[in-house]
């Protein structure tokens, strides 16, 4: 194998090998440890596919499958309704506060577990604020949160930022000349949008939509909290975690979830193949931002504010909950207090520092590994390199609870030297779980960033005597910094509210992160306020981080853009 490598490929080959080992040990092996049950005869333990036959024969599972599919598809539709106007207005028009809108639009991704759902229920539930008001004023209520529609509603609010982020990026990358030449040939208005702008932004949209579809399809938290059982993910979870019952169907469903998610990823990649226009274009500064007439501007603002109000309502509810005394069957809390924050800071500051540490380290590892994978896949001809990408992306489709149980099963018997305790109950395992779970996000950001760094910049460094490693370190990484930062923030933000894997892995209370702390508070009636306060603190931390990094990226874009303009002449 080494003989076919060129001298320049040895470093990347070592890095790729290490990453592959990491993925094998912390993704593949634990997952196989868990899902192998799916392939065993429950009575004899022999390998069999009978469980899958059972799955497809069981009407409850058939229904669950259809429900999951329906919810995921409809969530993509509803998310698009939220994301399209925000993305389009902020990239296409001169719009005050575009940066703020973009940042606020990402906040919904950071929905702390449990408290987010409680806040939603208090606002939109059968007897939530909105319905209480509707009932009082008009004598009717709207079942926002009932049944599958409730799941669609909550999921769309939660995950639409994936479409917003990807679509905005795609719109920003459209070469100005593309639009201008279309105008020059007589296209304008909606025709221009339909025939030029939208097709060019399509890859971004599809990438975001695929992400939404997969996340919703796999999501466990929302259906569970709305007590919807007849979907696949909750069925898997309920069957895996029930007392005493060790029904293999839970694992069968997990396997089917993973397989179906990979299938959707693959389909979306197929749909995108040969359509990644970003690399064909020069990324010249995005669309021309048009000035809006006054009435247009007001209209746009109205739409934007309405959408933001809707998608940020869980967080508004959370804020109210954290300051409210008692909030029960009423439009607003009975009174307000800062007591919950006092409780949190005096009792629970450990959760916050742990979260910053875990999510920070996980995000750091994610961007390091993500950059490594991106480099190996896109800049080397190493055999099998694509599998690193597939492997890391597959983590997207593995339910957190499967990872959690897999780690316990695989690594509890392994004592870490020096600290002398089982790897599965050492706090580092939580970081590893978060790293694996958030790697797909960071990876996509790193790949996008790498694709924008011209390969000749790296060759120039090598030509001047810098080794592969040195040129990556001095040239490629600094030029990728904007995208790496974006990946870091996405990983960090979502890792800081992750619960499903950590719930299984926290071995001592003093190691617990924020999401776990919220979970703990939310197990008692008196803990709802402090839980919400903890949630608000988490959101504020992550939101600030996101905003700051947006600023940094935006600044980086300005310098890069001026380069791009010069380079434009260069490539003419």
């Amino acid at each position: 194998m080494a003989s076919v490598l060129t001298p320049g490929q040895r470093g990347p080959a070592v890095a790729g090998g290490l990453i592959a080992l990491f993925l094998i040990f912390f993704l593949a092996v634990p997952m196989v440890q868990v899902v192998v049950v799916a392939f065993q005869d429950p009575n004899t333990g022999a390998l069999t596919l009978i469980n899958f036959v059972d799955f497809f024969r069981t009407s409850l599972f058939q229904e669950s499958f259809i429900n999951s599919f329906y919810v995921a598809a409809m969530s993509v539709v509803l998310s698009s309704f939220f994301a399209l106007p925000l993305a389009y207005f902020t990239t296409r028009f001169n719009f005050g506060g575009a940066l703020l809108i973009q940042t606020l639009g990402i906040i919904p991704l950071i929905m702390p577990p449990f408290v987010g759902a409680v806040a939603m229920a208090l606002l939109f539930g059968t007897n939530g604020s909105v319905n209480l008001l509707l009932d009082e004023w008009f004598g009717f209520t709207i079942p926002f949160m009932e049944g599958l529609n409730g799941v669609i509603f909550v999921e769309s609010i939660h995950y639409f930022p994936f479409i917003l982020i990807n679509l905005s990026a795609a719109l920003n990358n459209i070469d100005r000349a593309m639009e201008e030449s279309a105008q020059n040939l007589g296209a304008s208005g909606t025709r221009l949008f339909r025939r030029i702008v939208f097709p060019l932004a399509m890859p971004g949209y599809v990438a975001g939509a695929a992400l939404v579809f997969i996340k919703v399809f796999d999501d466990l938290g929302t259906p569970l909290l709305l007590n919807i059982n007849n979907m696949l993910a909750p069925q898997a979870y309920l069957r895996i975690t029930s007392i005493g019952i060790s029904d293999p169907m839970g694992y069968v469903i997990s396997v089917i979830l993973v397989a179906f998610s990979l299938l959707s990823l693959w389909v979306s990649l197929l749909a995108l193949r040969g359509k990644d226009y970003a690399t064909v274009q020069k990324g010249g500064g995005g669309l021309v931002r048009r000035d809006l007439r006054n009435w247009e501007k007001n209209g746009c603002y109205a739409v934007v504010i309405l959408i933001l109000l809707l998608v940020l309502s869980p967080h508004l509810g959370l804020l109210l909950l954290s300051f409210g005394t008692i909030w029960s069957f009423s439009v607003l809390p009975d009174g307000y207090t800062i007591g919950h924050y006092v409780t949190v800071f005096s009792e629970a500051s450990g959760y916050i520092t742990n979260t910053l540490l875990y999510a920070g380290l996980a995000a750091l590892f994610d961007v390091i590994i993500g950059t490594g994978i991106a480099y190996v896949v896109w800049r080397t001809g190493l055999p099998g390199r694509k599998w690193l990408d597939y492997g890391a992306t597959a983590a997207l489709a593995v339910p957190g609870v499967v990872i959690g149980i897999g780690y316990l099963r695989t690594y509890h018997g392994f004592n870490v030297p020096i600290v002398d305790q089982p790897l599965a109950s050492w706090w580092v395992i939580i970081v590893v779980a978060l790293t694996i779970r958030r790697l797909p996000y960071a990876l996509r950001a790193c790949v996008a960033a790498l694709q924008q760094v011209s390969v000749t910049l790296e060759e120039a460094a090598e030509n001047l005597g810098a080794t592969k490693g040195r040129s990556v370190w001095r040239i490629v990484v600094p030029l990728m910094s904007g995208g790496i930062l974006a990946g870091f923030v996405t990983s960090f933000a979502t890792a800081s509210v992750e619960l499903s894997a950590t719930l299984m892995l926290v071995a001592v209370d003093s190691d617990a992160p924020l999401a776990y702390g919220i979970y703990e508070f939310m197990q008692s009636a008196a803990g709802r306020g402090p839980g919400a306060a903890l949630g608000v603190i988490g959101v504020v931390f992550v939101g600030l981080g996101t905003y700051i990094s947006h600023r940094i990226i935006e600044r980086g874009r300005v310098t890069r853009e001026s380069t791009a303009i010069v380079a434009e002449g260069a490539f003419a």
Binding site: L60, I245, T325, N354, A424, A507, A525
Partner: protein
């Protein structure tokens, strides 16, 4: 440069790393399903009494706690398991994950209500009692003009349709006890009929047991079937809710046990002794904890309105709870409840609504044909796919367990297969019941 950076990073992360006691003598790790209010109070009091011991409370939902102990058994780091449901302890006992402990403290009786306080085999000990009951949101009931319920049978009343919440027995050990209590009290067929009549009024079956008080507290539904301390502590936290014990209820001890091969058995023993000592028992009276002490003497210090099961014979003595019977059909009951109620709640609710409507239409104008149709509909709903004898059969139960003790136990069929058969029957019955009730209404 890179090396320095990396070293700094490692140093930083080590400096920030959470404090690790590294299983040194003096750390006591307890896996528990109890809320922070309970664990925090006991931790503080215990650490005050034993300053050299540091208590680590590892919060896991009961089901997750079992899974955790099972998965980590090979290299155990937990000392104790502390939770409510005796069934959870039975599962752990069955998996040989607990060790026996001999309590030194005196003054704890054999039984509370009809239920023995301690495991007859000596593995787990009761430290407090809990009873199941009904909690409701007063604002909700007032707004919807509903009466406050008193008995389980009240919840069958059509006025409560869509207003009741409960957790599933497969999700919550204490819920399982409630379900089992009614099944034992009323008998297999009638007990299930009662449950289905109540479940027909369900708004939801929550995934977590705390989901029920949470839903009542926030007003998502008005009435919840909950364990007493959920209701009492919600009330104590200021929510507009009330709680009561119905006549037919059971008092069950909340338990604690030593985990096999725990790293610190001395501290674990000390913790049990502390829990059962008068000062430990007294902590249970704290309004945020609100559990019934198992030491009768402690009630002398309780507030006036505090229920005392040792004096008030109405609490928890109506049913003789047969633990062996419960254990013998544990998984079958859970699975049946999920198949008949949790997963088919919509169908059951629709059918129940149709029957309510038909009965309302029939009120005041008797009609034999309609009454017959309604009776048929009810019978369809009440049909249980498995009879009591089968439910307790060892071979049948084995289908629902992964681990089988003896290879000789003959197992036929797979859980998924059986559940599919049940589901087909249940779904079909509910649909037919609905159409029969609608037919009854149409002829009135």
């Amino acid at each position: 440069m890179k090396n320095i950076l990396f070293a700094t990073l490692v140093a930083m992360s080590l400096a920030l790393a959470p404090f690790q006691a590294q299983a040194a003598k003096g750390t006591l790790t307890i896996v528990t399903s109890y809320p922070k209010d309970t664990t925090g109070t006991f931790k503080a009091a215990f650490e005050k009494k034993y300053p050299n011991v540091k208590v680590e409370m590892l919060k896991k939902k009961t089901t997750a706690g079992i899974k955790y102990l099972q998965e980590t058994a090979g290299n155990n780091t937990a000392d104790m398991f502390w939770a409510s449901a005796p069934d959870a302890f039975e599962v752990l006992k069955g998996d040989d994950l607990l060790i026996k402990y001999q309590v030194k403290v005196k003054g704890i009786p054999e039984k509370v209500g009809a239920f023995p306080i301690n495991d007859p085999d000596g593995y787990y000990k009761g430290f407090a009692a809990s009873g199941y009951g009904i909690m409701w949101n007063t604002r909700y009931l007032k707004a919807k003009k509903l009466p406050a319920p008193a008995e389980w049978s009240d919840l069958k009343n059509p006025v409560y349709h869509g207003h009741v919440g409960m957790s599933a027995p497969s999700r919550s050990g204490t819920t399982h006890l409630t379900v089992e209590t009614l099944l034992q009290g009323e008998g297999w067929e009638k007990g299930w009929a009662e449950w289905k009549a109540i479940a027909g009024n369900f708004k939801t079956v929550t995934e977590r047991s705390f989901g029920v008080p949470d839903g009542v507290n926030s007003g998502q539904f008005g009435v919840g079937i909950v364990i007493d301390f959920f209701g009492l502590s919600s009330q104590a936290s200021g929510f507009p809710v009330e709680y009561r014990y119905p006549t037919v209820t059971t008092l069950v001890p909340a338990n604690i046990a030593l985990v096999k091969n725990g790293p610190n058995p001395e501290a674990a023993g000390a913790f049990i002794e502390f829990l059962l000592s008068p000062e430990g028992q007294e902590l249970l009276l704290d309004p945020k904890i609100r559990r019934l002490p198992v030491n009768p003497a402690t009630y002398a210090k309780a507030p006036a309105d505090f229920p005392n099961p040792f004096k008030d014979s109405s609490i928890g003595s109506a049913v003789k709870f047969d633990l062996a019977l419960s254990k013998g059909r544990y998984n079958v009951v859970n699975s049946l409840f999920d198949v008949m109620i949790t997963y088919r709640l919509d169908d059951l609710r629709d059918a129940t609504k149709a029957i309510h409507d038909a009965e309302a239409a029939m009120a005041g104008k008797p009609n034999d044909k309609a009454a017959d149709l309604i009776a048929q509909a009810k019978a369809l709903i009440n049909q249980v796919p498995v009879d009591a004898a089968t439910a307790s059969k060892k071979e049948f139960n084995a289908i629902f367990k992964k681990k089988r003790k003896k290879a000789a136990t003959k197992v036929e069929g797979r859980q998924a297969e059986i559940e599919q058969e049940w589901d087909t029957m249940v779904k079909d019955n509910y649909a037919r019941a609905k159409s029969l009730a609608e037919q009854a209404k149409s002829i009135l």
